[in-house]
């Protein structure tokens, strides 16, 4: 029993370099950083990542002033608008493409339901939202994997669709197609008449079919180099891209305006109108009119309780571990703007997501509790910051 002393193991404190600690214990690493007053990315608590926005770069040049550059049509897949957004190390490329759909839903004015007030009331709530439209977003986050889309991609796509619809930025009316008519004149030359002037309107009304069409917009959002949550970047990029959208004008060929076919089915005769081929004018386009005062930008915030035990200054002062630590030490809660990086994404469970217009109107506000102490002050602070951020992004989009 003489080797008791020899067998006692002396415990040496293990220390790791910061980058290894960040890998094996991201939450501790985060707490240590925060206790020193900055974040793992060396940003301040309320500091956003720098953002750069470029719109219209990848767009097919519909109205090119430079005649030397002639770009052949891209088989109908061409972009109508686009945006390249860079925030920190993350790139988001958004491309807007379009399509045309025959409008079969009747607007309120078209309905002959004057007597049926009850039905109108029921449909009122529904038709309020049908005045507005959305785009169909497909989000793709590049991670070097193939195959089916991830949960995150699906969630963000759905959220973008719903948010855009309910933020009333895009109305059905601006997506309505006002087709012109392509006319072959007596001398054989071809011209397109658009219903812009009164005189032209009469001509097109006479020739135009009774059907209605609308544009549909698709957004392909690709995220490169994801380092943290990306919803706000996708939203901002989508909104910036929408502002650069140019809708091509469409026309119908004169000869196709009154095509009718009689079909016989089960002993009955029916007249089927020919499905019209709407063609897009490669030379004429109009800017997509968004509701300016509803244009909003998103930002995210995280809330985290500071762990007093991880405080480096405390560690240095109280080497005596036996002393109770929790006396006199209040847990402090801080607000972090623009969450990014693995440590922040995994350790911060309480988040606030705000979509705000620069003028202070809010389009979306969501809080995930997550266990941290969310105080009124923190909420107010995040609202103030979101307005500032929104103003900042608006300036960046406008200067493009």
């Amino acid at each position: 029993m003489t080797d008791v002393e020899e067998s006692t193991v002396e415990v040496h404190p293990v220390s790791f370099p910061p980058e290894i600690l960040a890998r094996i214990s991201p939450d501790l690493s985060l707490q240590r950083h925060l206790s020193l007053g900055f974040r793992p990315s060396s940003r301040g608590f309320e500091e956003f990542r720098d953002i750069t926005i470029n719109t219209g770069d990848v767009t097919r040049r519909i109205q090119s002033d430079d005649n030397s550059v002639k770009i052949p049509p891209n088989n109908g897949k061409q972009g109508l608008g686009s945006c390249v957004l860079k925030q920190g190390d993350v790139f988001v490329i958004t491309q807007i493409t379009g399509g045309i759909i025959e409008d079969i839903t009747l607007s309120k004015n078209d309905m002959e339901l004057e007597d049926d007030t009850e039905l109108l009331e029921i449909t009122k709530e529904h038709s309020d939202i049908t005045k507005y439209s959305s785009v169909y977003p497909v989000v793709e986050i590049n991670r070097g994997r193939m195959g089916a889309c991830t949960d995150e991609e699906m969630t963000i796509s759905q959220r973008l669709y719903d948010s855009l619809l309910h933020s009333h930025i895009l109305t059905q009316d601006v997506l309505r197609v006002e087709p012109g008519v392509r006319i072959t004149n007596e001398d054989g030359s071809v011209s397109i008449i658009y219903p812009d002037t009164k005189e032209n309107k009469e001509i097109t009304n006479a020739l135009k079919p009774k059907k209605k069409w609308s544009y549909v917009l698709y957004a392909k959002i690709e995220v490169f180099g994801r380092t943290g949550p990306v919803y706000d970047m996708c939203w901002n990029s989508l909104i910036a891209a929408l502002q650069s959208v140019k809708l091509p004008r469409t026309f119908i060929d004169e000869r196709a305006t009154d095509l009718k076919m009689t079909v016989r089915a089960r002993g009955r005769n029916a007249v089927v109108m020919e499905t019209y081929n709407l063609l897009c004018d490669p030379n004429e386009s109009t800017n997509l009119q968004l509701r300016e005062n509803s244009i909003s930008y998103a930002s995210t915030y995280g809330i985290i309780d500071l762990d007093p035990e991880a405080d480096i200054t405390n560690l240095e002062n109280n080497d005596d571990v036996d002393e109770p630590m929790d006396e006199g030490l209040e847990t402090k809660t801080v607000l972090l703007a623009d969450i990014d990086g693995e440590a922040e994404e995994t350790s911060i469970k309480s988040t606030i997501s705000i979509t705000a217009c620069p003028n202070g109107r809010f389009k979306q506000f969501s809080v995930v509790g997550g266990g941290a102490k969310i105080t009124k002050e923190l909420l107010m602070r995040s609202i103030t910051l979101s307005k500032q951020r929104s103003r900042d992004i608006t300036l960046k989009v406008q200067t493009v």
Binding site: P72, N142, G144, V216, K220, G225, P248
Partner: protein
């Protein structure tokens, strides 16, 4: 049955894509369009954080982004003594069948200069994103695509035996290595080779272009090395 992909929000099925009329008046111009000469593009590597290596090659209306993932473990249970290379090309402009063909061509080319034996049981995945306005056939882009892959591989620290490159002339894209003494791949979009001498000429032009590209890549890598040293 509705066969639409329900995981993605693709919009109504009845919607038709925007159709542009065939421009008859400009069709003559299109056929005589002189393909842009090789323009020295801007190069930037190491710009994506979630992959091993990346490179973006940009010129006036082309932006080609390569991201290299690997060497990393593969899903296959078999023991592979050599590394497996996979190339995926994404583009909204070209049809998928053409892109698949090009990716298998590029895999062949890559296998001739990447030191596969050094990475047993591993895989290297190459993803290429073409953000372009279509100006010409696929072959015109191959020199740029090759450039972005090679620089991406260098950025990822994957060992390659040489700095290979590719030249383009008259629908031919020819990949060279070893200072132009070896051809590692020939891609031709369309048309027959009428006579051998014309092919010989375009081989020489491609070779000159390859040497120019190689010079560009080497000077970029050297300047990057100097920058890294100074910082």
């Amino acid at each position: 049955m509705n066969v639409q992909d329900r995981r993605r929000i693709l919009g109504p099925i009845e919607a038709k894509p925007l159709a542009f009329p065939e421009t008859k008046s400009t069709s003559n111009e299109e056929t005589t369009v002189v393909l842009p000469e090789f323009q020295a593009p801007s190069i930037q590597t190491n710009l994506l954080k979630n992959c091993n290596g990346s490179c973006i090659i940009e010129n006036e209306n082309t932006s080609i982004l390569s991201s290299i993932y690997g060497p990393r473990s593969t899903r296959s249970n078999l023991f592979e003594s050599r590394c497996l290379i996979n190339v995926t090309i994404k583009s909204a402009v070209f049809p998928t069948s053409e892109l698949k063909e090009l990716s298998s061509f590029l895999i062949n080319v890559l296998e001739s200069f990447v030191c596969l034996e050094l990475y047993p049981k591993a895989g290297i995945d190459v993803f290429i994103n073409l953000n372009i306005e279509q100006v010409s056939d696929l072959s015109w882009y191959i020199p740029y695509i090759m450039m972005s892959i090679v620089l991406g591989l260098v950025d990822a620290g994957i060992e390659i035996s040489d700095l290979p490159g590719c030249g383009f002339n008259d629908n031919n894209a020819i990949c060279f290595t070893k200072n132009g003494s070896e051809v590692i791949g020939i891609w031709r979009d369309k048309g027959d080779i009428k006579d051998e001498s014309s092919f010989g000429d375009s081989l020489d032009i491609c070779k000159d272009q390859y040497l120019q590209i190689k010079g560009l890549m080497a000077s970029y890598l050297l300047s990057k090395l100097d920058d890294d040293k100074s910082t």
